[in-house]
Amino acid sequence: MLEWLIPAASTSADEIDWLFAVIFYTVGVWFVVAQGIFFGLIFKFRRRPGVRSLYVAGETKDEKRWISWPHYAVIACDVVLIAGAIAVWRDVKQVIPPPDETIRVIAQQWAWTFVHPGPDRQLDTPDDVVTVNELHVRNGTTYEFELTSQDVVHSFSIPVFRLKQDAVPGRMIKGWFRPTKTGTFDIACAEMCGLGHALMPAALHIESAEEHAAWLGEHTAVAAAAAGSRS
């Protein structure tokens, strides 16, 4: 149901959207029932002349079941939701599938630097493509990212991937995504990082294999030329 509001463009997004829906319907039922009983009681037991309130201590087992049964039901729902949350988290954050490519993401006040592995699909080779505030990925490819920060805490957030990971200075954090839809989307910083926090947008370009190869070709040529002129 999240796709009604924002497109889902990665495998993780589908899983998270599924969990969101499960939680939504579970707590939705609770919410409707609880509010229904609540307002029903308010209406039924509004003050009427000559009617005295009942004396119910709620201490006997017989009376307590009115709260202990819902209590057990809450526990049951919690168990289901915990299981769902753990399963999805495991897939999304904990276990990184064997990646096709690795990209490096470096956050700083107030820009994103992306190191793409280039046509050879290996990082730290001469054909790496370094861009600022612009990330190009190939549709249907499993990417691992290595996230670091140069100064303060930032957060690497791609809403269409349902991806969010803080970039913490002093540590390198890995994650992964696998795009499923082409297009251009927003990347944002989601953690307060100073005056320019709102000025950290980056563009995510998810391209088909051909488009991506063309883009890489363009940029590796530029990179190679730059490297050549420098040497």
Binding site: Q94, I96, G170, M172, I173, K174
Partner: protein, 114 residues
């Protein structure tokens, strides 16, 4: 206030003897590192610190004759500290974990001796 009455009536233990025991423990904790074995040092340093602190609490702070729940209050607070430690240590204490690692730092150079 019955406990006040109990307080006034009870015989004080020999505080000097407890004090001497504490000094002996202090000496042991100083001798511990001389064995050169890390586990011995750990036990003589921190094991004995716990014993000493318990003795001070029990005899000098009179927790041994105080209402029992004061112990509980203090231990619950210690428990919260342990919970805090257990929750934080996997991130701060370990050099790396699942999908993350601390980037290396350069330790400070030895100071220049004048």
């Amino acid at each position: 206030m019955s406990s006040e009455a109990v307080h006034a009536d009870r015989a004080h233990p020999s505080y000097v003897r407890i004090y001497l025991a504490l000094l002996v423990l202090l000496a042991i904790s100083l001798l511990g590192p001389m064995f050169g074995h890390p586990i011995v040092t750990l036990v003589t340093a921190f094991g004995i610190a716990i014993v000493k602190a318990t003795m001070v609490a029990a005899y000098f702070m009179h927790l041994n004759i105080e209402e029992r729940y004061v112990w509980y209050i203090l231990f619950v607070m210690l428990g919260f500290v342990l919970v805090m430690f257990a929750g934080i240590a996997p991130d701060v204490m370990l050099p790396a974990g699942q999908n993350w690692l601390h980037l290396p730092i350069t330790p400070p150079a030895p100071p220049v001796h004048h």
